[in-house]
Amino acid sequence: MVMKQKLLAMLMILFFVFSLAGCAGSSDDDQPAPEEKIAADLAGTTLKVFAAYDGKDEIFQAFEADTGIKVEYLDMSSGEVLARIRAEQGKPLGDIWFGGGVDSFIAAQIDGLLESYLSAGAEFVPAQYKDPDGYWTGISLVTVSLIVNTDRCAELGMEVPQTWQDLLKPEFKGEILMPNPAISGTAYTILSGILQTMGEEEGWAYMDQLNAQIPYYAKRGGEPPQKAALGEVAVGLAPDTGEELKADGYPIVSVFPRDGTPWWPAPVAILKGAENLEGAKVFVDWCLSEKGQQILRDNCARVPAREGIELPECLSEIKDAELQDIDFVAAGNARDGLVEQWQTRYGQ
C-alpha cells in the first residue's frame, strides 16, 4: 500500500513537472537527439506492425525517414491481435504490436507470445508503465474521459458532469453509455479502477448505481463517444478526448472525472518469433526515444510515457484531474474473475 502511494505521489509530481515544462515551453526542440544508431543493413528492410493507434501513417513515415526501415501495418483492436497471435502459435505474421489495452499485452506475455527486450529508452519510463523484464513497454498513457454533449445536457437542464458521482444524478438516467468490459479495455479499466480505488464493496455499490443509469452496454469501444456526439446520449465514456469529433464541430466537451481518472499505459511489444527482430528492436528504441515520443505525441494526443516530454495541449487539463492509482498486473490477473462477476451482475 505504501509502495502504491509512493508511486501515486511520483506520478503526480511527474505530471506537475510535465505541465510546468509545458507552460515554460522548450527551446531545444529543433535539435533531435541522435540517440539511435541504426545499423546500415537494416535500412530497406520491412517491419510488419499490428497497430491500434491514431496518426499511424504520420508516425510510421517519420520512423522510416529516420531509420530507412519501412513499416507495413494492419489496424486491429487488441482483442483481435490477441486472438490472432494465439491462433498463430508463436509464428506470428507480424513483428510489432503497437498500442492497445495493456491487459491484452499481459495476457499475451503470460502465454509466452511476446519477446523480451529492454530498450535503452525504457529507463526513462516510470516502472508503473512497463514490464520489468521488457516484454512490453508503455509508450503513452491512455486516459479515460467523459465525452459530454452540451446540447443534450442543456436540454436536460444539467451542468456538464465533472465526477463519477455526478453521473448518478437522476436526470442522467438512460443518458450514459459505456462499453461492455468484456470487450473493451476502456470499460475494463474503468471497472477495475473503480474497484481498486473505492474498494470492493463500495466499488460494486457504485457500479450498481451506475448500471441503473446505463441504457445498455456498447459492444464496440468507439460507440459511446460517437453516440454522445450525435446526441443519442448525454455522456459517452471514451479512451480519448474526442478531438476528431470536436474538430468535426460536434457540441461536445471532454471531462476527466475529478474524483479519479482511469488510465492505462498503451504498450509497444515485440512478438515472439518476429522475422525482423533487429528491426523491431530499432522500432522500440525509436518509440521510446525523445524524438520518437514527441512524434507520437504530436500525432496522437496522449500523455507521453517517457519522463520529460511535454504534454499535448488538449490534455493540459489532466493536471487538475486525479489519476486513479491502478495496479495493472493485479488488474490483468483479476480480469477473468471480474468480468465474469460483472457479467452475472449486469450482463444478462
Binding site: 491514431d54 494492419l74 486472438a83 461492455n180 468484456a182 468507439g222 468535426d248
Partner: protein, 573 residues
C-alpha cells in the same frame, strides 16, 4: 463462335480436344474429384479444427463449455432462433413479393427495381447500422427531426428489421432466378383451363418457385443466425449467441467457449438444412421450354399490391443509401447538414492501394467462386454420386460459422504443416470463395431442380461430352444463378471484414479494414465517404456484369457483340 446456342462461348466446340471423347469424361471426373477434395480441405478441415477447440483444450477432452451453455445461456440460443425465424419469414415474404413484381407484374420500373436490388445487396456492415441510427435513433432524421419523437431504436425489433431488410434483397434475387426459369406454358395451361390470374399465381407459379423460396429461406435463416454485427450495434440489451461468441473471442479471449457457441449455432442451421433438402428432393417440376415472358395478366388489385410492397421496400432501402451519401457531404452530421466537400478532401490518395487490392481479391473470388458453385450445384443435382448430400451440407457449412470464427479456423488450419498458406493473398481469396460458396451453389441447385434433365440426356445420347453438356446446356440455364453468385461473392468480399481481419497481413490492408478503422475513431464523415466509394465501385461492377450476363441474344446479341463479352470477362481478371 458462329454456330451454336445463343449466348454461348464455343471455344472447344469444333475439333477441340474435348469432343465427346472418353478422355473428356475422364477430365470431367478429375475435376469433380479435385473440387470435392478442395471442399474437404478448405471447408471441412478448418471447421473441424474450430469444433475441436470447443471440446479439447488444456490437453483434455471436456464438455464443460456445453454444459455451461445449456445451464446458463439457454436464453441466448432462444434469442438467436427467435430473431432468425422472424427475420427470415419477413425477408422471404418481401423477397417473394419483389421477385413476383419483377417477373410477373405489368408495372413499369422492373429494370429499375432490379438495379436497386443489386444496390441493396451492398450494405457494408456497420454502415447500414449507422444509417439506421442516423434515421431512427433518438436524434434520427425521421424519428426526431421529422416526427419529433424520441424513441429507443435499440432492441430485438431493430435487429429483426435490419436483418430482414438486408436479407430480403438476396432472397428476392434467388427467387427471381427460379421464377424466371419456370415453364410459362404451365401458367398458360392453367389460364386455358379457366383459372384466373391470381389463382394461377397462387397454385402454379408460386409452388413452382418453391425451390427458390426454400433456398432463400435457408440462406436468410443461416445468415441471420451467424450475424454478430447487427445485434452488436443495434441490439442494445438484447444479445444473441453469435454476438456473445464474437465477444468471447475478441473480448474474453475464451476461444473454447466461443467455439462451443459457434458449434451450438449449427444445430438450428442443420435442422433448417434438412427441411431444405427434403423440400428440394420433393420438388419435381420440370420446365421444358424456357420463355421469359409470363402469359399472366394480373388483376389490378394484385398488380397494385405487388407494386406497393415493392415500392415501400425499395424506398426504405434507398432512404438508407441516400443517408449514407448525404453523410459524406454533410458538414457535420446531426449538427450542420449543409453541403461540404471536406470529408472527401480528407481521404488521402494512399487509400487507393487498399482499394485496388480489394477489387482484385473480389473479382478473382467472384469469378472463381461462382464457377465453382455452379459446378458443385451440377454435381449435387445431376451426378448424385455417393455422398452428394454430405457435399451439399459441407458447402453450406461455412455460412453457419460466424465470420471471425472462420478466420480463426483458417489460421488454425493453415498456419502449420502440412499446409502453410497463411500470409498469402491466396488464402484470403480462398477464404472469400469458400465462405460465399453456399449462395452460388444454392442458387444453382434451385435453378437446376426445375430444369428438366431430358435435354442433357439427349445431348449425351447424341455424343456430347460431359464438359460440353455443362458448358452448352447447364451454364446458359444457370445464368441468373451465376449472376447472383458473382454479385454476392464480389459484394461480400468488398464489404465484409469478419474473417479477413485474421488473414490479411500488415501492408496488405483492404478497403473495408480502412473504413472500419475510421468508424472506430469516430470519423463519421470520412467513413461514409469510404463507404460510398465501396458502394459505388461495387455497384458499377455488378451492373456491368449483369449487363453482360443477362443480355439475351434475342435482343440484339449479334455475333460481334457476343464475342465482345468474352474478352470483357477475361479482361477483368
Amino acid at each position: 463462335m458462329n454456330s451454336g446456342r445463343p449466348g454461348m462461348v464455343n471455344k472447344f466446340k469444333e475439333g477441340g480436344p474435348f469432343k465427346g471423347t472418353s478422355f473428356s469424361d475422364l477430365l470431367a471426373g478429375l475435376i469433380y474429384v479435385l473440387i470435392a477434395a478442395s471442399v474437404l480441405v478448405f471447408i471441412l478441415w478448418p471447421s473441424i479444427t474450430i469444433i475441436v477447440k470447443s471440446v479439447y483444450y488444456d490437453g483434455q477432452f471436456t464438455l464443460v463449455e456445453y454444459i455451461k451453455l445449456f445451464t446458463q445461456n439457454k436464453q441466448l440460443l432462444l434469442n438467436s432462433i427467435f430473431v432468425s425465424v422472424v427475420s427470415t419469414v419477413l425477408a422471404v415474404a418481401i423477397g417473394l413479393f419483389v421477385a413476383l413484381f419483377i417477373s410477373h407484374s405489368q408495372n413499369r420500373g422492373k429494370r429499375l427495381t432490379f438495379a436497386v436490388l443489386l444496390l441493396t445487396m451492398i450494405s457494408p456492415p456497420f454502415v447500414s447500422a449507422l444509417s439506421y441510427i442516423m434515421l431512427f435513433g433518438r436524434r434520427g432524421i425521421i424519428t426526431y427531426y421529422l416526427m419529433g419523437l424520441t424513441v429507443n431504436p435499440y432492441g430485438w425489433h431493430g435487429v429483426v428489421i435490419m436483418q430482414a431488410l438486408s436479407h430480403a434483397s438476396l432472397a428476392a434475387l434467388i427467387i427471381l432466378g427460379v421464377l424466371r426459369g419456370i415453364d410459362k406454358s404451365l401458367e398458360q395451361a392453367s389460364l386455358d383451363l379457366g383459372a384466373d390470374s391470381l389463382k394461377t399465381l397462387l397454385k402454379i407459379s408460386i409452388p413452382l418457385a418453391k425451390p427458390g423460396v426454400i433456398a432463400a429461406a435457408l440462406i436468410a435463416f443461416i445468415q441471420s443466425l451467424a450475424d454478430f454485427g447487427t445485434p452488436a450495434i443495434i441490439g442494445g440489451n438484447f444479445s444473441v449467441l453469435a454476438t456473445e461468441a464474437y465477444m468471447n473471442v475478441i473480448g474474453m479471449y475464451n476461444l473454447p467457449r466461443a467455439a462451443a457457441m459457434g458449434t451450438l449455432l449449427m444445430i438450428p442451421a442443420l435442422l433448417m438444412f434438412i427441411i431444405y433438402r427434403r423440400t428440394v428432393e420433393n420438388s419435381k417440376y420440370f420446365s421444358l421450354r424456357v420463355s421469359t415472358e409470363s402469359p399472366l395478366k394480373l388483376s389490378r388489385g394484385v398488380n397494385y399490391s405487388l407494386a406497393l410492397i415493392t415500392i415501400s421496400f425499395i424506398s426504405f432501402q434507398l432512404i438508407q443509401y441516400i443517408t449514407i451519401l448525404w453523410g459524406a457531404f454533410a458538414k457535420t452530421w446531426g449538427v450542420d447538414f449543409s453541403f461540404s466537400l471536406r470529408h472527401i478532401q480528407a481521404v488521402e490518395a494512399s487509400r487507393l492501394a487498399a482499394f485496388g487490392r480489394s477489387l482484385e481479391y473480389a473479382l478473382i473470388a467472384a469469378l472463381v467462386g461462382t464457377l465453382l458453385g455452379m459446378i458443385i450445384a451440377y454435381m449435387i443435382e445431376r451426378k448424385k454420386f455417393p455422398g452428394y448430400r454430405i457435399l451439399d451440407f459441407l458447402v453450406t457449412l461455412p455460412y453457419m460459422i460466424p465470420g471471425p470464427f472462420l478466420g480463426i479456423a483458417y489460421v488454425l488450419a493453415f498456419h502449420n504443416k502440412p499446409l502453410i498458406l497463411t500470409g498469402t493473398a491466396f488464402i484470403v481469396v480462398v477464404n472469400c470463395i469458400y465462405r460465399q460458396l453456399p449462395i452460388s451453389t444454392r442458387a444453382g441447385t434451385a435453378v437446376l431442380t426445375q430444369l428438366n434433365p431430358e435435354t442433357e440426356y439427349s445431348a449425351r445420347d447424341l455424343g456430347a461430352s460431359e464438359i460440353t453438356v455443362f458448358k452448352d446446356i447447364i451454364l446458359p440455364s444457370l445464368k441468373p444463378a451465376f449472376l447472383l453468385g458473382f454479385v454476392n461473392t464480389f459484394t461480400t468480399t468488398m464489404t465484409t471484414i469478419g474473417a479477413i481481419i485474421f488473414l490479411v497481413v500488415p501492408g496488405a490492408e483492404v478497403a473495408t479494414v480502412q473504413m472500419f478503422t475510421t468508424i472506430k475513431t469516430g470519423q463519421i464523415g470520412v467513413s461514409t465517404v469510404l463507404a460510398n466509394m465501396i458502394i459505388l465501385v461495387t455497384l458499377a461492377i455488378n451492373l456491368v456484369f449483369s449487363y453482360f450476363i443477362l443480355r439475351s441474344p434475342k435482343y440484339g446479341g449479334s455475333e460481334k457483340r457476343e464475342g465482345a463479352y468474352v474478352p470483357a470477362i477475361d479482361g477483368i481478371k
